[in-house]
């Protein structure tokens, strides 16, 4: 179908056409998707292979000093006059070996390779104390700590390997420069490089370090936890590797308040919530923004401020206030409906009663929270839509509703797709609204450690904090990640904006 035919279709035909295309192209696109993933891994392994090849070829081509730096780090540099650099390499190696002897090796040893997959050796309890040789209470190993230190040691080993390879490169380069008869750069010259051609290293070193320690390390640790049996029955005991058993349990649906039932229920609600919260906030926010910016409306700044103030108030204040106002024992909204307006016969339990009442309530509160954001974001862009588009539409007899759906919405969708994707993913992870509104409430008896308004992330939080089922929480975190990553990947690949990164420069 040509474009000219396409634009003459009515919205439903367009939708049908797009849907048909989506499914027709699905195999092709899925193929592309998996090919892209395949390519990624191919490049990854080819890169590693090349790295190894370079590593060995440098060893073969290197002279005795370079070869010796494969054992004594920095040797090649020291011999050729780059003393400070060489000593730094040497110091790294010494520190690493001391660390491994004094601390690291023991942690790797405890990771379960030598104990049938159980992390740590000594179970806490009574027995023969190995130190005193007498019966008594034995201090057990703390599997959690051991795993944490183990992961930390693995990260340190990885960092050391990077430095080690850099050392061999540096030694070989020094040898080549010397052979070519050129002068080797001194330490200060090399330091200066870090403010110009290697400036990225300087800029990224500190953030990379902190992110490695406080984001990547905990993340690796939690991903590993998902493959252990560290649930509430293993607190204070040793736990073991169990492979994918945890994921299996998340999907099994047996018993009254089973994990599987809760999971399915919460996935359904999370998706409903994410779609409704994103779409409603987007469309309603845009309608309000259009009304504020309408020609002939006075006091625009006042109207804007009226809405935007709610963005400015910290969310924990406004949401905790909301949860109090919705309280069943005499919150302000119940007072308004019952005591002042006499609309309801009694106080309504907005958040703690019927699941669907609670769900509608959180969505409505989220509209209250979210619309001002949309107003803020879209106002500027809405003003950019050429006014003559609307004028000609009015001359052609289009009403405000029609021009909204025919002009405003397509234009805005075109410009703000990235924002929509981020807010959809943000809503899947929208912890604040749900948690702050419902944290005072009891969990449902039908669900495992969750209420009917819980999203996957708030369930994750409850599993961690209330029931201490760390492995299930970690497994759910991984599943949420998979959902978010897939959504973002597909949509980012479909929109052009992600590809045209350089277009502005």
């Amino acid at each position: 179908m040509k474009y000219i035919d396409y634009i003459q279709l009515n919205p439903f035909q367009k939708l049908g056409y797009n849907l048909k295309n989506f499914f027709v192209n699905l195999p092709k696109n899925a193929g592309k998707f998996f090919k892209a993933i395949g390519n990624f891994f191919k490049r990854f392994f080819v890169g590693i292979g090349k790295g190894f090849a370079g590593f060995f070829s440098r060893f073969i081509k290197g002279d005795w000093a370079t070869k010796l730096s494969y054992i004594i780090m920095g040797f090649g540099n020291i011999v050729r006059g780059q003393v400070v650099k060489g000593l730094l390499f040497l110091a790294t190696e010494v520190l690493f070996i001391l660390y491994m002897i004094g601390f690291g090796w023991d942690k790797i040893y405890n990771l379960g390779f030598f104990n049938n997959g159980t992390i740590g050796f000594n179970e806490e309890g009574y027995g023969i104390n190995p130190v005193t040789g007498r019966p008594g209470r034995i201090e057990g190993d703390d599997s959690m700590k051991l795993l944490l230190y183990g992961v930390m040691t693995l990260v340190i080993i990885a960092i050391f390997i990077v430095i080690y390879v850099a050392n061999t490169k540096s030694a070989y380069k020094a040898q080549q420069t010397k052979a070519a008869g050129e002068k080797l750069p001194g330490f200060l010259d090399e330091l200066k490089e870090f403010f110009d051609s290697k400036f990225h290293v300087t800029l990224l070193a500190f953030p990379t370090l902190t992110i490695s320690i406080f984001t990547i390390l905990p993340l690796l640790f939690m991903i590993l936890i998902a493959f252990t049996n560290y649930d509430h029955s293993h607190i204070g005991k040793l736990f073991s590797w169990v492979g994918f058993e945890t994921f299996g349990k998340v999907f099994t649906n047996t018993g009254a308040a089973s994990m599987g039932k809760t999971f399915v229920e919460l996935v359904k609600w999370t998706l409903i919530w994410a779609v409704l919260a994103t779409v409603l906030n987007y469309i309603l926010g845009m309608v309000v923004a259009l009304m504020i910016n309408k020609k002939g409306i006075k006091l625009k700044a006042l109207w804007r401020t009226l809405f935007v103030v709610t963005v400015a108030v910290p969310q924990f204040v406004s949401l905790l206030l909301m949860s109090q106002m919705l309280d069943v024992n005499g919150g302000a909204i119940n007072v308004l409906l019952h005591n002042v307006l006499h609309w309801t016969p009694g106080y309504i339990d907005f958040l703690g009663g019927d699941p669907w009442v609670a769900r509608v309530t959180v969505i409505v509160v989220n509209i209250w929270v979210g619309i001002p954001y949309t107003i803020l974001i879209t106002s500027g862009i809405l003003m950019n839509i050429p006014a003559d588009l609307y004028e000609s539409a009015t001359i052609d007899g289009a009403g405000p509703v029609k021009s909204f759906f025919k002009i405003t919405l397509p234009y805005m969708l075109f410009v703000t797709t990235p924002y929509l994707i981020t807010s959809f993913v943000g809503n899947i992870n929208n912890f604040n609204v749900i948690y702050l509104l419902t944290s005072n409430l009891q969990n449902s008896n039908d669900l495992y450690q969750a209420g009917y308004t819980d999203l996957l992330v708030t369930w994750l939080f409850k599993l961690t904090m209330n029931s201490q089922d760390y492995n299930f929480a970690a497994a759910i975190g991984i599943l949420v990640f998979i959902v978010c990553a897939t959504v973002s990947l597909i949509t980012f690949n479909l929109t052009k904006s992600a590809k045209n990164e350089e277009e502005f420069s």
């Binding site: 403010f195 990224l204 002939g296 969310q315 204040v317 206030l321 007072v335 975190g477 973002s488 420069s505």
Partner: protein
């Protein structure tokens, strides 16, 4: 014809005014309720009417003068939050600017992979790692100094929030860098003397968001500070005031405290909102 057009416009405008007025009332009324009842003198937590009968400053006076080590100490909480906010704001802003400049303007081999890793890390739910961070801090002995631990937590991962400012840096013409390089400037000088001064909107946006962060976060703070009430931040302190045990006597203090926290932040935000919008639309929205 002209007259009927005028009438029609009058009617639609009146309709829009009524709608806006109604919606505005709904949006602002919870905040009006908050301010009004923070001055309420009578009653305990809930009253069965909307307009307070007697107004006074008693709740505010109580908020700042009633300080018990074991249960509440609002001035101390306020100072804690302020200190944490200042430090984490400085560190995070530096980190964000450095990372986004490197990703946007410099070209090096690891750039694409690092950008992708950053995106992937951002897709894991943040609360997943919270318990691991707790144990990590405990192992480092930092839980003895909750404020330091909080500063580290709020600023350590800041570098990952580079997307928006990277989007902004992408829009600055590269010809500027090239001209400066020809004139002999190093990349370090380009960063400090050319790019940063040109990035005021995004700088203000980053400072603002990272300053407000500690005032509003309370999940991480709650886990790290635990039961150490004097070291609470305002967010966890105020939330404690309305938990089931305290709400009856402290609800009015909660309202007053919320006003005290919300007023400066709201003012700050309203002054800076132009930068906020520029910041978000520069990086987050593209055609």
């Amino acid at each position: 014809m002209i007259k009927s057009y005028k009438v029609r416009r009058f009617v639609t405008n009146a309709f829009v005014y009524i709608l806006l007025g109604g919606l505005g009332l709904i949006w602002i009324s919870p905040l009006v309720y908050l301010v009004l009842h923070s001055f309420r003198d009578e009653g305990l937590a809930y009253v069965s009417y909307l307009i307070p009968q007697k107004l006074s400053f008693q709740n505010y006076i109580d908020l700042f003068t009633v300080t018990k080590e074991s249960s509440m100490n609002f001035p101390r909480w306020f100072m804690n939050t302020f200190i944490v906010a200042i430090f984490s704001c400085i560190i995070s802003t530096l980190a964000v600017m450095m990372v986004s400049y490197a990703f946007s303007r410099l070209r090096f081999k690891a750039r694409k992979p690092l950008i992708n890793i950053g995106m992937i890390l951002g897709m894991f739910p943040g609360f997943m790692t919270m318990i691991a961070i707790y144990y990590l801090l405990k192992a480092m002995g930092l839980l003895e100094m909750p404020l330091v631990a909080l500063i580290i937590c709020y600023s350590a991962g800041a570098g990952l929030g580079y997307q928006i400012s990277k989007g902004f840096f992408d829009t600055i013409p590269r010809a500027l860098d090239e001209a400066a390089t020809i004139d002999g400037a190093t990349r370090n000088q380009i960063f400090w003397k050319i790019i940063l001064p040109m990035s005021k909107p995004i700088l203000v946006y980053t400072v603002l968001t990272s300053f407000i962060g500690p005032w509003t976060d309370f999940i991480l703070a709650k886990i790290i500070v635990g039961k150490d009430i004097p070291n609470y931040t305002v967010a966890i302190g105020l939330q404690m005031l309305i938990d089931a045990d305290h709400v009856l006597n402290n609800f009015k203090k909660f309202l007053a405290g919320s006003v005290v926290v919300a007023v400066p932040i709201t003012t700050l935000f309203l002054i800076m909102q132009r930068y906020y919008v520029e910041g978000v639309t520069a990086g987050g929205v593209k055609g």
